[in-house]
């Protein structure tokens, strides 16, 4: 019995060792581990530039050399994004591995043409991370891909930190690829994507060539294509209405001085109500505040709370006016809100959704509660 078991075990181990070479595979060093992809559209052709992990390619001495950007770039052109990716892959001589793509940057023109056609390659690839980020570039995306940051293990990390930090502070909307795929299944196929801008004044110490990247508002997407850029104020408002902002700082004028207040635990609730033929969105928000600088001794807290509330209302109102009421876009996903709150109402208005949105009204009610103590006290 023991002899038989021994023979069986030997057979299994031998098969495992001998047959492992029979399975077609690509070694890790033969792959281009793509970290970021930039897609441009010009003369009815797509141009793809991607950054891939390669520590030794840029002179790194160790597998992960923190003093180096650790990435190389490769570009390709084609009738569609797949073809362009393939050409870029041929040029770098490696097989693409898209499982760790952190960000897709879409050129301004490509976004106007169609964001769907760009993201399609990622949506149909099951390797891709559904939580990678999508951003639009002001100008050509290719230029942004050439910026290689020294900070972080790889160059892309810095870009991700930049966007994550801006979102955490309520400064920008930051939808993931999955958020975008979900958007494509809604009536308006609408979302707001962050816009990245190249700063090429040679003064930045973030990269070797003095270039850096900044966030510059957002791009409003409707029916899967960009309608144009919106200001940072609008993106802040969208982020608030979307319910993704939990912390935000505001600066309000009090007598002759400006007082900065940190608003935290921001909660926004939207309730849709039909009043006659008009759909009214009652937006209720609440948050707590904390002075970032010492308030004056004779400080009137009620007045400051009111001023903070007005600031938040201004942000949300601007966002609603510039996107929903002006363009009939739905970057806040009001469709979801209406369906969730009143399904019968949704069934009544779904066929006329865009018109209903344009003719809708927003009412705001914000409650801010500020601690009387400042951080300095």
């Amino acid at each position: 019995m023991k002899k038989l078991s021994f023979i069986k075990m030997t057979a299994v181990i031998t098969a495992a060792v001998v047959c492992s070479g029979c399975i077609p595979h690509t070694e890790l060093n033969e792959k281009a581990i793509v970290l970021a992809v930039a897609v441009d559209y010009e003369d009815e052709k797509y141009k793809v530039t991607f950054q891939y992990y390669s520590p030794t390619g840029i002179g790194g001495q160790t597998p992960v050399d923190n003093s180096q950007p650790n990435v190389l770039t490769s570009s390709g052109e084609g009738e569609n994004v797949y073809e362009a990716m393939e050409e870029a892959s041929f040029k770098c001589g490696r097989k693409l591995m898209s499982g760790v793509i952190q960000i897709i940057i879409i050129g301004e023109e490509a976004a106007v043409n169609s964001v769907d056609k760009v993201t399609d390659f990622a949506e149909s690839s099951f390797q891709s991370r559904p939580d990678m980020l999508i951003a639009i570039s002001s100008g050509k995306a290719e230029e942004l891909m050439k910026v290689k940051f020294n900070e972080g293990t790889v160059s892309t990390q810095k870009l991700r930190f930049l966007l994550d930090n801006a979102q955490a502070n309520g400064l920008t909307v930051l939808p993931s690829a999955l958020d975008y795929y979900i958007t494509l299944e809604t009536k308006q196929q609408s979302i707001c994507l962050p816009v990245l801008k190249l700063i090429d004044d040679g003064k930045s110490d973030a990269s070797e060539d003095g270039k850096t990247i900044e966030i510059d508002g957002g791009a409003l997407i409707k029916n899967g294509r960009s309608l144009g850029m919106v200001s940072a104020e609008v993106t802040e408002g969208i982020q608030l209405l979307w319910g993704k902002t939990t912390d935000i700082s505001v600066t309000v004028q009090r007598e002759e001085e400006k007082v900065s207040i940190r608003l935290s635990k921001v909660k926004v609730k939207i309730e849709p109500i039909m009043e006659g033929d008009t759909l009214v969105f009652k937006v209720g928000a609440s948050c707590r505040g904390e002075y970032l600088v010492a308030p004056p001794h004779h400080n009137n807290n009620d007045e400051m709370e009111q001023k903070c509330g007005e600031q938040l209302i201004k942000l949300m109102k601007t966002a609603a006016e510039e996107t929903v009421l002006k363009c009939g876009a739905d970057p806040i996903n009001l469709e979801k809100t209406v369906r969730h709150h009143d399904y019968s109402l949704w069934k009544q208005i779904e066929d006329n959704w865009e018109e209903t949105l344009i003719n809708s009204r927003f009412e705001f009610d914000v409650k801010v509660e500020i601690n009387r103590l400042s951080m300095e006290d």
Partner: protein, 357 residues
């Protein structure tokens, strides 16, 4: 009567694992609709009704429905055995094709489909040849891992759930509703599995159904809830919704869980297909004697492998088989215990007559 080999809990776990695999690899006909929650509820109620005759036969004779038929009438046993074997092996081929399609499209894109189909089938053949006891013990471990996997996904996605995707609607499209219910009920090959294997769980095998149906109902609803809260309307277009939410999970130790998702469903496939092979083995054993049992298990593995490899794990074949089985499976699940009750009564009468004579 069959000798008791496994507990009712083990039988319940075998049935649940087999059913959940089918549930999770339903790649077609999905949509973002609250109706699906009702579909699961109604189909579980219908399923409970379908189990009543099987439970009645099991309680009356203390053996499985097929066991009763095979012991009372060789001809009926042979016919029933042939029908059960064909239906269950078709379901096994469908499952293997689904899994091959899933794994080759996701994590093992470079692996040849021949290996993705042949390797699990070889494991299943071996598991079936080893017998139901080992398989039952193994499936309890796999079920434990599966529950842990669900808990991991549940925790890691908790920050991403959006309850806004839920809306108050029970039945949105009545025509589609009944079509979905029929399709849901029609994929329960476990009806036949219970009709063949319940004898191994002894006289109280009916308890397995009492545990299994609520467990499958609860887990199916929870999985659908996790998918709906994470994916919203994308649920209708995502080819593999559970894989997508696994890829979104971000757990410190494992990072994304999509690789583990593929491993989990491969294990569940092994349980499901092994259970089917054990059924075929039992059918052959009851008709042709115990000596025919093990070769039958290997032969069924070979037959399933031959079909799956011929079509190269084509998902199209799986869709055709599932469509064909939609009405056949529940009908067979209903006819099997009825036949057992008729044959059993006839057998009793014959015994009484012979005693009188």
């Amino acid at each position: 009567m069959t000798k008791t080999k496994i507990s009712t809990a083990q039988l319940a776990v075998l049935l649940a694992a087999s059913r959940l695999f089918t549930e999770a690899t339903e790649f077609t006909g999905r949509s973002y609709s609250m109706q699906h929650f009702t579909v699961i509820l109604v189909s579980c109620l219908i399923l409970t009704a379908l189990y009543i005759p099987l439970i009645a036969a099991s309680r009356k004779y203390g053996d499985s429905a097929f066991g009763v038929i095979a012991s009372k009438s060789r001809t009926a046993g042979f016919l029933c055995g042939a029908v059960i074997t064909v239906i269950l092996l078709s379901a096994a081929v469908s499952s293997v094709c689904r899994m091959t399609f899933y794994t080759s499209a996701t994590v093992f894109s470079e692996a040849p489909t021949i290996l993705l189909a042949a390797l699990p089938l070889a494991v299943c053949g071996y598991a079936a040849a080893k017998g139901i006891q080992g398989l039952a013990r193994g499936s309890v471990i796999i079920a434990g891992l599966f529950i842990a996997f669900l808990v991991f996904i549940g925790i890691s996605l908790s920050g991403r759930y959006d309850t806004g995707w839920l809306y108050p609607a029970v039945i949105e499209q009545p025509d589609l509703f009944w079509e979905q219910v029929i399709r849901h009920v029609g994929r329960n090959s476990e009806l036949l599995v219970f009709g063949v294997l319940s004898g191994f769980a002894g006289e109280k095998a009916d308890r397995a159904a009492y545990f299994y149906i609520p467990a499958v109902f609860l887990l199916s609803e929870l999985m659908l809830l996790a998918e709906t809260l994470s994916l919203g309307p994308f649920l209708g277009t995502a080819a593999f919704p559970f894989f997508t939410i696994s890829a979104m999970s971000d757990i410190v130790l494992f990072q994304r869980l999509d690789g583990i998702d593929a491993v989990m469903w491969t294990l569940m496939l092994i349980v499901r297909v092994s259970v089917i092979f054990v059924c075929v083995k039992t059918v052959f054993g009851r008709i042709f004697g115990e000596k025919a049992a093990n070769p039958a298990a290997w032969l069924s593995a070979l037959a399933a492998a031959a079909v799956a490899l011929t079509v190269d794990g084509n998902i199209g074949l799986s869709v055709i088989i599932d469509r064909a089985l939609v009405l056949i499976l529940p009908a067979a699940g209903l006819l099997l215990p009825i036949t057992a009750l008729i044959v059993g009564r006839k057998g009793k009468r014959e015994v009484k007559n012979s005693e009188k004579a």
